[in-house]
């Protein structure tokens, strides 16, 4: 075996790099990107990824709307975003170049599959009759590696006796091999993966491995590349790590909650992008006391979740914006019945069907207020893919402790994005005690009785009595409940009292929220307030602003309802308040309402995460206007 790590090329040490693989949605770019991610994780770099693909499964080949991309930012330093600008774009066809060229930094590198730059493809990509590789202007200012990826793949597989389609589909492995060489990544993870994936089809396996190695060797032998890069391992805290996507982490968090609570979990869901991943993940964990139910529609999924929770189980369902809209009435019933459950919303671009595969944060107000009547519930938003694990665990724990539905707000970027994750030990997770009612709790009309709406003093939670428990037979429903007895009541005073109690109960959850950790300055000019997946970009921007001598801090709000108790005090320590959101200003509206402070909104709705520079610009604008 050849030692693939020895090189005759000049090696340049770099701290970080952003690479973007782009091609047709049938070119296997997501796979190429995730294999590069795995190799990068094995090189012990810190990383963040941004898969970006069209809603169509196989959009017409060669078109700009059919371009699928996978962006990866990695380094020996702390990596928090998928990268503002791309250092290397791998474009498998003209459309991929057309769509992504503006994202490459000036002076950055572009590797193209020259064989794909044929008249037909150029026309489809909107280049007309000019070839950007040859016109001398389009790619001016970039380093271009024009590689015959298709042709070399064909040559490599000449003697494998495979049909053209299979050969053509292997070209992504050539690109992967070459990219791995360029950044000195190990080949082993990809080799191992191919071995497993095609175990039953040895011919395909061998062909892919052959092409992968050819790509790697090509880097070494060709004159095109004179420099090879090395990125040293990142200084991550000691521990055992794995690369994890937010979707996987969330699923594992639910499994952990099941294991630690001793409850059984029923996960009910109707397929919807980008939440389906959770259904796929959880369906594999049947031996963990987890049942999954693919319901006939979104409403049935929340109905089954309520049914399961009524039965003394952990009911969980996940959806995306349009599905959350359909679940509104059911969630209202859960608020009224005061049953514990978790509703995950993996946000995508809206309104209506919107941008199903793109990320956005525009469902916050829907989660807060999108139900009839006064129906408050807790909302938790994890800031990173890895934190989805802990947020899911936390959501389940809080739901059971306070007997209420909890909405967990993820988004397309968190769900599909990956990062290195320090694997927690189950023993280190917070305890998850569950108490079911077992006996009567009041003397009512002279007799011992079970009253389902008698509340705990500490949490204001009502008791959870499982059907099957003798003597605790009771009826719940959507009609207003009489305080304590739970009987139907139309009494005006009672409705007022119950409405206030439901609100007070959710507010009690403040006692679960740890004090806010301010990032950057503790007090000063500008406080950047974010929620969810914007944390990385905000922190990078804060670091850059502070390097410029500005006095800036940041908080990322994980509990959006109730808000942290000390938020008001933190806000008071800063002169200006900047709220960057991937919506038209939803958290800023909530904060203005709560604190009567002017909030400066930074809004972006392009289906993509923030770039740190965009936030930095707003910070500097704010300070210079002061």
């Amino acid at each position: 075996m050849i030692d693939l790590t020895v090189t005759t090329k000049q090696v340049k040490q770099i701290e970080e790099a952003t690479i973007l693989f782009a091609g047709d949605s049938g070119d296997g770019m997501q796979l190429t990107g995730s294999q590069f991610t795995l190799a990068t994780a094995f090189a012990h770099n810190d990383l963040a990824t941004l898969p970006d693909f069209p809603a169509e499964i196989r959009a017409p080949a060669g078109t700009t709307y059919g371009v699928s991309g996978f962006q990866l930012h990695f380094g020996s330093v702390d990596i928090r975003t998928p990268g503002d600008e791309v250092d290397l774009l791998v474009a498998m066809n003209p459309a991929a170049l057309k769509v992504n060229l503006s994202r490459v930094r000036l002076g950055g590198a572009i590797m193209v599959n020259r064989n794909a730059f044929k008249p037909q493809n150029l026309k489809l990509a909107g280049y007309g009759t000019t070839n950007p590789l040859e016109d001398g202007t389009t790619l001016q200012g970039y380093r271009v590696f024009s590689v015959e990826i298709s042709k070399m793949t064909e040559l490599a597989l000449k003697n494998f006796g495979l049909d053209r389609k299979v050969v053509d589909r292997s070209k992504n492995m050539f690109a992967l091999g070459l990219a791995l060489w360029l950044y000195s990544r190990p080949l082993e993870p990809a080799l191992e993966w191919l071995g497993k994936k095609f175990a039953s089809r040895p011919k395909i396996r061998d062909a892919n491995i052959h092409v992968l190695k050819k790509g790697f060797h090509f880097g070494e032998t060709t004159e095109d590349f004179i420099v090879r890069y090395e990125v040293q391992p990142a200084a991550l805290p000691p521990g055992r790590y794995r690369a994890i996507r937010g979707g996987q982490a969330l699923a594992l968090g639910l499994v952990a909650a099941t294991a630690k609570s001793g409850l059984k979990l029923l996960y009910s869901s109707y397929p919807i992008t980008p939440a389906s991943d959770l259904l796929h993940e959880l369906s594999r964990y049947k031996n963990f006391g987890i049942k999954t139910f693919q319901a006939e529609d979104e409403i049935a999924a929340i109905g089954a979740t309520i049914g399961a929770s009524f039965g003394g189980n952990l009911g969980v369902c996940a959806t995306s914006g349009p599905g959350l809209a359909l679940k509104s009435e059911g969630i209202g019933l859960a608020v009224m019945m005061e049953l514990p459950m978790v509703i995950v919303n993996v946000q995508r671009g809206g309104p209506s069907t919107g941008l199903p595969t793109k990320t956005e944060q525009s469902d916050l107000l829907q989660a807060m207020y999108g139900r009839n009547g006064e129906s408050p519930l807790p909302i938790i938003a994890p800031p990173t893919p890895g934190d989805c694990f802990f947020a899911a665990y936390e959501a389940c724990r809080v739901a059971v402790k306070y007997m209420c539905p909890v909405i967990l707000m993820s988004d397309g970027y968190l769900a599909n994005g990956a990062e290195p994750w320090r694997i927690p030990r189950s023993a280190g997770l917070e305890d998850f005690p569950v108490t079911f009612a077992s006996k009567t709790n009041r003397i009512f009309e002279g007799k011992p009785a079970f009253l389902p709406y008698v509340r705990s003093e500490d949490t204001l939670a009502r008791p959870w009595a499982r059907p099957g428990t003798k003597g605790l037979e009771h009826r719940l429903g959507g009609l207003e409940k009489e305080d304590e007895t739970g009987n139907v009541s139309y009494d005006p005073e009672n409705h007022q009292r119950m409405t206030q109690l439901r609100k007070a109960k959710v507010n009690r959850i403040q006692q679960e929220i740890p004090p806010l950790a301010t990032y950057g300055d503790e007090a000063g000019d500008v406080l950047v307030i974010g929620w969810g997946s914007t944390e990385g970009a905000i922190r990078v921007a804060v670091d850059q602003a502070r390097r410029q001598g500005l006095s800036v801090g940041a908080v990322q709000i994980r509990y959006l309802n109730p808000l942290p108790q000390d938020l008001g005090a933190v806000l008071a320590r800063f002169d200006h308040h900047l709220v960057p959101e991937l919506n038209m200003g939803q958290l800023s509206r909530i904060l203005r309402d709560r604190f009567l402070l002017p909030m400066v909104s930074l809004n972006k709705v392009q289906g993509r995460p923030f770039m740190a520079t965009e936030i930095l610009q707003s910070i500097t604008d704010l300070t210079s206007s002061a």
Binding site: A259, L266, A300, G311, I423, G477
Partner: protein, 339 residues
């Protein structure tokens, strides 16, 4: 005589909650409630294992009056709660109470899916062919031309046939009974309860306020014998006190006059409740002035329940993969150590 110390059996009273029943005086729902409350002690199920789940509408107040576990849920969604409950708690005895608007209009989708999945529940579909709780609009089972508040010139939508729909959805037990014949109702409900799988029972129920007499031709003495036929497994489809019968001409049901001398009892179709074909024919004896309306069990089939399949799959997988180990699962990936 009861032996000293022996437990007293449960009675209707043990299944009646302390809540005042709030249906209109004279409503058919009272007869159904009384029949169910009387039947429960005979079913041999522990009271704490019983759950009644309803949607929205007059009939859906039912769970409040049963001294069992119960949920009064939202419009049309009772089957979804029941499915989630049975999937996670197969040990419970779950009953769904619904109406024609609740089950067939707003909840139509859930009804067909619970039927095809065969979740072990009993569905009591109170059909009064009207929206009662919203004060008298036409329902999906109202007859064509029905004049109501929302159709002052007559409804232009033909009615849905719940039995045919249930059969089409793949129901494993389908029956029809009426509020006026509580003995028949008790018998049918007992059989529905015994059935393993989703048992759908359509109950003709009189709304004396907004649709009084909708089913009188099938329930009242003057016309009942001529207008109804009782389906009985293995017995000829005879009605009108033995004077008439249903005969099959190929797949077409016809009525024959047994007193004319032209036909004898041996010409009558013999009902077989395990025959999907006969059920289809009997189920479609609907909306005709000449054919009698069938009551009884249309169809019954032994089929594995949804929750049993779910349990079995979990057992098989657990056997193969072993029981859970959270730490092992968390580490089950390409992982690396940083020291």
């Amino acid at each position: 005589m009861r032996r000293p110390g022996a437990k007293r059996g449960l009675t209707r009273k043990d299944f009646s909650s302390d809540q005042d029943v709030r249906w209109c005086p004279g409503c058919g729902d009272y007869a159904i409630l009384a029949t169910v409350q009387r039947l429960m002690p005979k079913l041999g199920v522990k009271r704490e294992k019983v759950v009644f789940i309803s949607g929205i509408g007059c009939s859906s107040r039912f769970p409040y009056y049963m001294k069992t576990y119960g949920v009064h849920s939202i419009h049309g969604r009772a089957p979804t709660l029941a499915t989630g409950l049975k999937a996670s708690r197969p040990d419970l005895d779950v009953w769904i109470v619904t109406g024609d608007g609740d089950a067939l209009s707003i909840g139509g989708n859930h009804l067909i899916h619970i039927l095809r999945r065969n979740v072990d529940t009993q569905i009591l579909l109170f059909n009064n062919q009207i929206y009662g709780l919203t004060k008298g609009q036409y329902s999906p089972t109202s007859e064509l031309g029905k004049v109501t508040k929302s159709s002052p010139f007559g409804s232009v939508s033909p009615p849905l046939n719940p039995v045919a729909m249930a059969l089409g959805a793949g129901a494993s037990f389908v029956a029809r009974t009426a509020d006026r014949d509580t003995r028949h109702m008790a018998k049918i409900l007992q059989r529905a309860h015994k059935h393993s799988g989703t048992a759908m029972v359509e109950i003709y129920q009189n709304c004396n306020i907004y649709n009084d007499g909708a089913f009188f031709e099938f329930t009242e003495k003057a016309t009942k014998a001529q207008r109804t036929v009782m389906l009985e497994h293995g017995k000829p489809m005879v009605y009108d006190q033995g004077q008439r019968a249903v005969r099959l001409d190929g797949f077409r049901p016809l009525t024959i006059d047994l007193t004319s001398g032209r036909w004898s009892i041996s010409d009558a179709a013999v009902y077989d409740e395990t025959s999907r074909e006969l059920a289809g024919i009997a189920g479609r004896m609907f909306g005709s002035d000449t054919m009698p309306r069938p009551f009884g069990v249309f169809y019954r089939e032994e089929r594995t329940t949804f929750e049993a399949r779910l349990e079995r799959q979990i057992q098989e997988i657990t056997k193969k993969q072993g029981t859970s180990d959270l730490d092992k699962l968390l580490n089950e990936a390409d992982a690396w150590e940083i020291v």
